[in-house]
């Protein structure tokens, strides 16, 4: 029996249906993006036209950083629920006794957190770019479009989401409480966000080439994280809390 996208799809659709009726998830998916579109817009609209280029970049970098919080925290919150949530509901065992493989289960869960996050993060970023271009001072709009800000945002949004998801699932597979899992997985997303903060705030200056190189490294880390999480996903441990 080989990897089945039908089973991945079954998990993916089930997750989306479940999210739709989960008030906590709907709340998180609404409030977090709303918050992190308002804050960066305040940041760019409040920047004065006469500020020097360093301060201008700082304003723009800070706005961009706010938007990276969405792919950092939203998927980790969702995926932290993925295993421990099923266990709390008593639904994990019925799923694990179907022919599903652990890789299919994990990919289904990961996609269900990844796709909404990516859509929300890019839509929020699109709104930000449109608003800044149309309504911010020309110097600010120009600073946003110059340099590597947009490239970093586009490249690192899915990669940051990927990292958050695997951290969330890894924590979820070992946790017994949903809230603890969510808090720990958000903490796990912080180190990567810190590195991106240094880039966004120009503490680390990156060229386009370096940004692409860093993205490649992050992609490799995400793939490695997937393998590690898949290896951690032991049916016996998940069912009994003990290793085989």
């Amino acid at each position: 029996m080989s990897f089945s996208w039908t089973r991945v799809r079954a998990i993916f659709i089930k997750e989306l249906r479940d999210y739709r009726r989960n008030r906590f998830v709907v709340g998180t998916m609404t409030v977090l993006p709303l918050l992190f579109i308002i804050l960066p817009l305040i940041q760019v609209f409040n920047a004065y036209a006469h500020v020097d280029s360093t301060n201008l970049n700082l304003h723009v970098g800070l706005s961009m950083l706010y938007m990276l919080v969405i792919p950092a925290f939203l998927p980790s919150t969702l995926s932290a629920y993925s295993v421990v949530g099923e266990r709390e509901q008593g639904t994990l065992e019925p799923v694990l006794i179907t022919p599903i493989r652990r890789e299919e289960f994990l990919v289904g869960k990961a996609l269900a957190a990844f796709v909404p996050t990516l859509i929300i993060a890019y839509v929020v970023f699109g709104i930000f770019l449109a608003a800044a271009t149309l309504f911010a001072r020309p110097a600010i709009a120009s600073a946003i479009w110059s340099g590597t800000h947009v490239l970093v945002q586009l490249l690192f949004t899915p990669l940051l989401a990927g990292w958050g998801i695997w951290i969330g699932i890894a924590v979820s597979a070992r946790s017994t409480d949903v809230r603890v899992a969510q808090q720990l997985s958000m903490l796990g997303s912080l180190p990567l966000l810190a590195v991106l903060a240094l880039i966004s705030l120009n503490v680390i200056t990156v060229s386009s080439g370096l940004a692409i190189g860093l993205a490649a490294v992050l992609l490799a880390i995400d793939l490695l994280a997937w393998r590690v999480v898949a290896a951690m996903f032991d049916r016996e441990r998940l069912i009994t809390g003990k290793r085989a």
Partner: protein
């Protein structure tokens, strides 16, 4: 209570032959378990368990809490890896590589229904149809819902259903893939008598349709009513067979005699009667150990009438499966004390 020593059920039980279609077209058994053991560190969940279940058979797996019933089901369902021993499930050898293949041919209904409560009945079943990669999903779901009499609740959110209805949805889910072996783990646990009766009715209808069912329970009347054969597990397999066979294995056959006044010399009346092996006095008369109640009863009646006794009734003692179960479990408790 007159009892025989319990036979240790270490050997494979004989398949029952009461006209049921027990064999698959290939002549295989649905389950063959040989010396299977599962330990969690030092703790033994079940030890050296061997039995065989034929296709179309309803096999009861009884035992007290912590006896290893659920762990056995999980092991046969490839959720847990056995420590030693071997098994064949639905014709496939039990090993980690065969996990997905085995799981595609069986279904397990766990003790807790485990439904997605925010999803509707239909959405729950659609998800599991996808996990089994089934074709004709709509038709299969309709058929499964029809089997559990829930066609009109397909669009209800599972969270709004009663416990009994949730259990029926879980049963519909377990039937989706036409399993070769259906494992039901305590299917009536926590249900009220009405809901339990409904589940019993559903299991009985599956039995009529020739579905192979492995039923774990500690409700003995449930096992006695529904199962062709039962096994009693208390970490090790204590006994296996048809409920009436188990009664005969464990208890002497006996007659309960009720008379108005006790006999003056019971030994003189009852001793030496054909088919009577012994007797003991009870508050309302006597209990006689007999080889065959049908031969002994007329002899006893004649002897009592001859002795001037007023007979109120003579009846064969019927030991229930519960008596068998309690006898075995009591033996285990006493053995542990020793």
């Amino acid at each position: 209570m007159t009892s025989k020593p319990a036979n240790q059920a270490t050997s494979r039980a004989e398949p029952i032959t009461d006209g049921l279609a027990l064999e698959s077209p290939k002549g295989e058994s649905a389950l063959v378990v040989e010396h299977l053991t599962k330990r969690f560190g030092e703790r033994v969940a079940f030890d050296d368990v061997s039995f065989e279940v034929g296709y179309g058979e309803v096999f009861g797996f009884l035992g007290p809490n912590g006896a290893g019933k659920t762990t056995t089901v999980r092991t046969l369902g490839t959720l847990l890896e056995p420590t030693s021993g071997s098994a064949t499930v639905a014709g496939i050898e039990l090993c980690p590589e065969n996990g997905p293949a085995i799981r595609s041919r069986i279904s397990i209904m766990p003790e807790s229904p485990g439904l997605y409560l925010r999803l509707t009945v239909l959405e729950n079943l659609e998800c599991f149809a996808g996990l089994y990669e089934l074709n004709n999903v709509r038709w299969r779901i309709e058929r499964a819902l029809r089997a559990v009499n829930l066609e009109d609740r397909a669009n209800d959110q599972c969270g709004s259903l009663s416990k009994g209805l949730r259990q029926r949805v879980a049963l519909a889910r377990a039937l989706l893939n036409d399993p070769s072996v259906l494992f039901l783990d305590e299917p009536t646990s926590g249900l009220d008598p009405v809901a339990s009766r409904e589940v019993h009715g559903l299991i009985a209808s599956l039995r009529e349709r020739g579905v192979t069912i492995f039923l774990t329970t500690h409700r003995l009347e449930e096992a006695e009513r529904l199962c062709h054969r039962v096994a009693i597990l208390n970490t090790t397999l204590r006994l296996i067979g048809r409920p009436d066979e188990l009664r005969d294995q464990l208890f002497s056959r006996s007659l309960d005699v009720r008379i108005r006044m006790p006999l003056e010399e019971p030994n003189a009346v009852l001793r030496g009667l054909p088919g009577v092996e012994g007797w003991r006095q009870t508050p309302s008369g006597y209990t006689l150990a007999v080889t065959d109640p049908e031969i002994a009863a007329p002899q006893v009646a004649r002897a009592l009438v001859g002795a001037g006794a007023e007979i109120l009734s003579i009846a064969e003692s019927r030991h229930s499966l519960e008596d068998v179960y309690l006898e075995l479990i009591d033996e285990d408790v006493e053995a542990r004390r020793r």
